[in-house]
């Protein structure tokens, strides 16, 4: 399994045909660093670009993030079963916060997302985060772009507050930040502007009763004060019998319905290209392009149908010209 013969074009075709069984191979290819694999990965992403699909990929990319210990995984398990109840296929990209001190990583998140192994329409893949808490794994952006061609819902799960939802927001159509009652951090972060207002705020452990109701009220007030009255604050409980999951799925759907999806996806591809460029050429490379803001501006002027690898190539050509 040096993953031989992972053919990017063929995998793209399978994704376009919504063949969910292609998912493990797609991830194996996108995670691979070998020169041959990277060429195939470019083929794959080109094969699921809007130009090939005749529009943006149909899947809904949902980011779920929040501080450690708020119960994201059990919430996610509940969300998955609700999405399945609504007959949607779900792919989960679980980014494990474990740092790579030794190069290796323990990927334990999967254990806490209880899914039916006999259900072929649920896919869960874990990966170690990059160097930062809450950072995405290298292949996550590409995987989200690819899998959203085949799955109805693609979830990116990360840990952290602050950096993580910024990075997830670059990839996801909808970002849900999960907090637990009586954790003041998020409220403070929001007020201080350290944290962008997410698309959906979720107060988990609503079974805590009055504490939870207060958290919902406080967050709602903070969000309105910041002028983001569109952001719903949903209280959920993952403990049986569970509550609020329905409303949360509706709120996530409602966000998707009102967001300018093509604009968000274009931005996701640009940020993906930019992240890959920085990973490859560093901040020095970026300065060669005139800095981050200038590069973002330049990317925004490019053909909106270009996929991330094509944008990266454009950046690299420009860097050489400069």
């Amino acid at each position: 399994m040096t993953d031989p013969g992972l053919d990017g074009r063929q995998l793209a075709r399978r994704l376009r045909e919504r063949d969910l069984r292609a998912a493990p191979s797609v991830l194996n290819l996108l995670e691979s660093d070998s020169v041959a694999s990277r060429e195939q990965a470019r083929e794959l992403l080109a094969g699921v670009a809007p130009s090939e699909l005749g529009g943006e990929a149909p899947g809904h990319v949902v980011g779920i993030t929040g501080p450690p210990g708020v119960g994201k995984s059990s919430l996610l398990a509940r969300l998955i079963s609700e999405w399945r109840r609504r007959d949607r296929s779900v792919a989960v990209l679980a980014v494990d916060p474990t740092s790579r001190r030794s190069g290796g990583a323990l990927l334990g998140d999967r254990a806490r997302i209880d899914v039916d192994p006999g259900d072929p329409r649920v896919f869960v893949r874990s990966a170690a985060a990059g160097n930062r808490l809450g950072g995405l794994a290298a292949a996550t952006r590409a995987a989200a772009a690819a899998l959203s061609a085949a799955f109805d819902v693609v979830v990116i799960e990360t840990v952290g507050v602050g950096q993580s939802e910024t990075e997830v927001a670059e990839v996801a159509d909808t970002v849900a930040v999960v907090v637990q009652p009586a954790s003041g951090d998020v409220l403070q972060f929001l007020k201080a502007g350290i944290m962008e207002v997410p698309d959906v705020l979720v107060v988990n452990k609503a079974d805590l009763g009055r504490v939870a109701q207060r958290a919902v009220a406080d967050l709602g007030a903070a969000v309105r004060a910041l002028g983001a009255s569109d952001t719903p604050v949903v209280a959920v409980s993952s403990l049986p019998p569970g509550s609020g999951i329905d409303e949360l799925v509706d709120a996530i759907d409602a966000h998707r319905a009102r967001v300018d999806l093509p604009a968000r996806r274009r931005r996701a591809r640009r940020m993906h290209a930019l992240a890959d460029f920085v990973a490859e050429h560093g901040e020095r490379g970026l300065r060669g392009l005139g800095g981050r803001r200038e590069t973002e501006r330049w990317l925004a002027e490019q053909d909106p149908g270009l996929d991330a690898p094509a944008l990266l190539q454009a950046l690299e050509r420009r860097a050489q010209l400069g």
Partner: protein, 651 residues
């Protein structure tokens, strides 16, 4: 290979008990199989290969009736090794006693009923911590009132040391556990019964471990006794000194027994037995000694007799029992005890800060994995000497092991089929309306935290409800739970120790294109996860990406994870003896999931004959306790992945 006939089903166990009673035994000790311990019926997918294996399968009151047939329950002292489902097994016992016209007040016995060590080490939990504590508190409150001669809980720190606990951790976690139980009982009673805490405190007993560092181990027991007394007096206001006495039974350490030169274990066991008998003021009330060859497989009757003789020599030949406490006034012992007490207090304070033992499960689990890792590191580096294993390893051929057959528990596979068929008949013949009503009532009581679960459980037992139905009803109310694995928090090994191994992992990963990814899986109900955890942590330290999902996975869950995660190799760990059923089932599931080519390695207590059969079935390598060098195992696994992917080995 021998057949372990005794414990498979209720009828065979009953025959065994009656034979033993005829020989003058006055008590029963009931071991249950893993499905009964974790609340699954024999026909549940997870029960596969486990029915009747490590104990008797009790699926309903009919099984309990057969098990206790002809046994005078008014005279019996019955000890049940049961935890997550203790309330249920106690309910079944009460109902059968009722049929024998023996009132509950007359029943004597013990339910182990200690859930925290199940999360931390032994793995046979069924429900999340909060509801589990409630079940424990309910059985305590119920027995104190209605079954006054019953010992409702036996707090077991034994399993913590097996999981790697240091003496301080063993003391601190066992006592924190006791505090969690006692607080729950107190809070649920809300001061209605002023004498409650005294009678409950007096009924709590402990089950501890004794390792080969026997001076320190003795000090540990003195420290526990002293802290326990203080706890009763200061925290729970127990006035009666007798009620505050630290009562404990002991099983000496299995962790330190070696597969290499196993005859040395006989000495280790003797020294360990001293640690719990030397000083009268902290002497065990009951001692169980393992057999010298436990690390090899199932002990023969002669091996067990050899262990029994050790106890008899200690008791009848030596002068051990003739003196008052021989450490009284010993500066060294007092100093050691004081040190352990101080450190244990600090650790207990840390657990308390995290909200008590229930909320600190993750913390304690991580602490145990870390201690175990450190212990293993010291053995590998030679800092910790284990004679015959990492030092003084040359040996003359042993006449003792020459004809040892290394047998393991083998249950007639018929038992599982018979139990399933019998269960089907049971379900068909009972009154479905009564069962439905009893389960509805059980669910109602479970949802109401102010009610005691016991009466509804007893009514359900009477109505013919099965073990799986009782547990499933509670799972639906309480939720499912996966205990923390503790591996994520384990500190990394200093890189210089592993430099070569890491280089090789990097090299192979580069050729593979992505990082070498290793799935460590524990199929079935066996909850002994210490080995799997250490493998997972070491593989991470060696630079691999490791997917470890904890215990209790079905073959299809493991195969599904292997396929979705795109792993390069799968490692399976089984210690319950069900490898013959479960490993081939995982291989089939991997093939069905389209990843049949991924190599599989297996670790566990596996006799050579079985290992050969597993290799023939397609397992790439089999590891047993003699393969204690984890780095060598890692090198093998890396080489295996390289070979399967056509990568040439380094020169």
């Amino acid at each position: 290979m021998r057949t372990y006939a005794g414990h498979s089903d209720a009828m065979r166990s009953n025959e065994l008990y009656r034979r033993n009673l005829e020989k003058g035994q006055t008590g029963l000790s009931i071991a249950f199989d893993l499905p009964t311990q974790t609340g699954y019926d024999p026909d549940h997918e997870l029960a596969r290969g486990e029915v009747g294996k490590v104990g008797v399968s009790i699926a309903h009151k009919g099984d309990m009736r057969t098990l206790l047939d002809g046994i005078p329950l008014d005279q019996m002292n019955t000890s049940m090794t049961i935890n997550a489902t203790a309330a249920w097994l106690l309910a079944l016992y009460v109902v059968i006693a009722e049929e024998h016209d023996v009132p509950q007040e007359k029943l004597q016995g013990t339910t182990q009923n200690d859930i925290l060590k199940e999360y931390l080490s032994r793995g046979t939990y069924a429900f999340p911590p909060g509801p589990s504590m409630r079940l424990i508190a309910d059985t305590i409150a119920y027995t104190v009132q209605h079954v006054p001669r019953w010992n409702p809980i036996n707090i077991s720190s034994y399993h913590l040391q097996e999981a790697g606990a240091t003496p301080v951790q063993e003391i601190a976690y066992a006592l924190s556990n006791a505090i969690a139980v006692l607080d729950t009982v107190r809070d649920r009673d809300r001061g209605r019964d002023p004498d409650l805490m005294g009678s409950v405190f007096g009924r709590i007993s402990f089950f501890v471990n004794a390792g080969v560092r026997f001076v320190e181990e003795h000090a540990k027991l003195r420290a526990m006794a002293s802290l326990w007394d203080e706890l009763g007096r200061d925290r729970y206001g127990v006035q009666d000194e007798k009620q505050r006495r630290f009562r404990y039974g002991v099983q000496v350490n299995s962790l330190g027994l070696t597969e290499a030169q196993p005859e040395n274990n006989a000495y280790r066991i003797a020294l360990e037995a001293l640690s719990v008998t030397l000083g009268r003021s902290a002497r065990a009330r009951a001692i169980q000694l393992p057999a010298w060859n436990e690390a090899l497989g199932l002990p023969r009757p002669w091996d067990q007799q050899w262990s029994l003789r050790l106890q008899q020599i200690l008791a009848y030949e030596t002068d051990l029992l003739e003196y008052p406490d021989i450490f009284e006034g010993s500066k060294v012992m007092d100093g050691l005890v004081a040190e352990l007490i101080e450190e244990s207090r600090e650790e207990m304070a840390r657990v308390a800060e995290l909200g008590g033992a229930v909320d600190a499960v993750d913390y304690m689990k991580a602490g145990l994995v870390e201690s175990h890792r450190e212990r293993w590191r010291r053995i590998e580096s030679g800092e910790l000497v284990v004679v015959g294993m990492n030092r003084f390893t040359s040996t003359e051929p042993s006449p003792l092991t020459a004809d040892a057959d290394g047998g393991i528990l083998v249950v007639d596979p018929q038992v599982e089929a018979e139990q399933k068929a019998a269960l089907e008949r049971w379900r068909a013949e009972r009154d479905p309306a009564a069962v439905g009503a009893a389960l509805a009532e059980l669910a109602r009581v479970a949802r109401n935290p102010d009610e005691n679960i016991m009466p509804a459980s007893i009514a359900a037992a009477r109505a013919g409800v099965t073990t799986g139905e009782w547990a499933q009803t509670l799972r639906e109310v309480f939720g499912e739970y996966r205990a923390p694995t503790g591996v994520g928090e384990a500190a990394a090994i200093p890189s210089e120790d592993l430099a070569d191994l890491r280089d090789e992992v990097e090299r192979i990963s580069e050729v593979l294109g992505r990082r070498l990814k290793f799935l460590v899986g524990k199929p079935g109900l066996d909850g002994h996860s210490n080995g799997a955890e250490q493998i997972a942590v070491r593989a991470r330290d060696a630079g691999m990406d490791v997917v470890y999902e904890g215990i209790r996975l079905t073959p299809s869950q493991i195969a599904n994870s292997a396929a979705q995660e795109g792993v390069h190799v799968v490692g399976l760990s089984i210690l319950s003896g069900s490898h013959r059923q479960l490993i081939p089932a995982v291989l089939d599931a991997l093939a069905a999931a389209g990843v049949g080519e991924v190599p599989v390695v297996v670790g566990g207590i596996i006799p050579e004959a079985d290992a050969e059969a597993l290799r023939e079935a397609g397992v790439a390598a089999v590891y047993t306790p003699k393969d204690w060098d984890l780095n060598q195992m890692m090198r093998d696994i890396v080489a295996l992945v390289a070979e399967r992917n056509g990568i040439t080995a380094t020169a």
